[in-house]
């Protein structure tokens, strides 16, 4: 592609030098923000092909560019709902190189739908 820069290091004028592998390895390879409180909708994303609304609080996130295997990091969170519900634990279930399942629980322990759900993938692409 035009405009490609090949470099092993980036140097700041004040903060020293950083290997570009830190940037490549440390950046999210996929992320998604979705609303699951009404009709499931993807708000914004990178490297996501679709979501599958399985049930209350259970959503599968499917990738376009697979990860190299299932051993990658998936930080997840959810925002307070407009109806006043407060999400508690966020669970990640059954990750594979092509997907993960984002589960949102209420503080009481039951599955709940939240307006704003966020998850991402940190690791290596296939």
């Amino acid at each position: 592609m035009a405009g490609k820069i090949i470099a092993d290091q980036i140097q700041s004028s004040t903060a020293g030098t950083l290997d570009t592998k830190y940037v490549v390895d440390g950046s999210a390879k996929a992320w998604v923000s979705f609303d699951n409180a009404s009709t499931a909708t993807i708000e914004e994303s990178l490297n996501i092909s679709n979501i599958v609304d399985f049930a209350a609080g259970e959503t599968q996130v499917n990738l376009t560019n697979n990860m190299t295997n299932a051993n990658y990091c998936i930080p997840a969170s959810a925002g307070r709902t407009t109806s006043g519900g407060s999400p508690g634990a966020q669970w990640i279930y059954g990750p594979a190189s092509s997907r993960w399942q984002h589960e949102t629980m209420a503080n009481g322990g039951s599955y709940m739908d939240a307006d704003n759900n966020y998850s991402a993938a940190l690791g290596d692409l296939a």
Binding site: S38, T39, S45, L46, I48, T64, N65, N69, S98, A126
Partner: protein, 186 residues
């Protein structure tokens, strides 16, 4: 805007180009399917950036690439993908209509046993509908199922999408010789 010549370019780089240059497309289509009798109906929602890339053409790999990678991952000795190059080096597919793109997603991410036999039971276990046809609230979400009323209004749509002649999505491309030789799904 024309798509750059992307064959051999890492798929992730192609997706970054698409996100920067294409307007997201929020599809009103929803794929509703029942993968087993004990679970509520699942609803597949296309990603807006992905849909824009699918309609643009020249970005996404053919769907059989995902099938081969899934077969690799299902192998007991799987450690990591060694054929990721298929995502990047296979000739990208051409532009799809929104309907063809939804069909592609069905083949990519709906369980095979669902779409292969969607119309062989007492009622279809997969339909494509408009999001306005879904319940307006999440009440009783874990009891949702495909109703006979919805089915009667949409089954022809499913059939027409599955069998229509396509320009961008070539079924012979999806079920490629390479896939047949590998007998992944034999």
């Amino acid at each position: 805007m024309n798509t750059p010549e992307f064959k051999g370019t890492h798929l992730f780089e192609r997706l970054l180009w698409a996100k920067e240059n294409l307007e997201p497309v929020q599809s009103d289509y929803r794929v509703v399917f029942e993968s087993d009798v004990d679970s509520p109906a699942s609803i597949l929602v296309a990603d807006p950036n992905w849909m824009a890339a699918a309609k643009q053409g020249g970005i996404l790999p053919p769907v059989w690439v995902y099938w081969l990678l899934a077969a690799d991952e299902a192998h007991p000795d799987f450690k990591k993908h060694t054929r990721g190059y298929l995502l990047h080096d296979t000739q990208p597919i051409g532009p799809l209509t929104e309907e063809q793109a939804i069909e592609y997603l069905i083949y990519k991410d709906v369980p095979r046993h669902v779409w292969e036999n969607y119309n062989k039971g007492n009622k279809p276990n997969l339909i494509i509908c408009n999001k306005s046809q879904l319940p307006k609230t999440r009440e009783w979400r874990n009891a949702w199922s495909i109703s006979d009323e919805v089915v009667s209004g949409n089954i022809e749509t499913v059939q027409s999408i599955e069998y229509q002649e396509t320009e961008g999505l070539d079924l012979t491309e999806m079920f490629s010789e390479e896939l047949n030789r590998s007998k992944v799904y034999a």
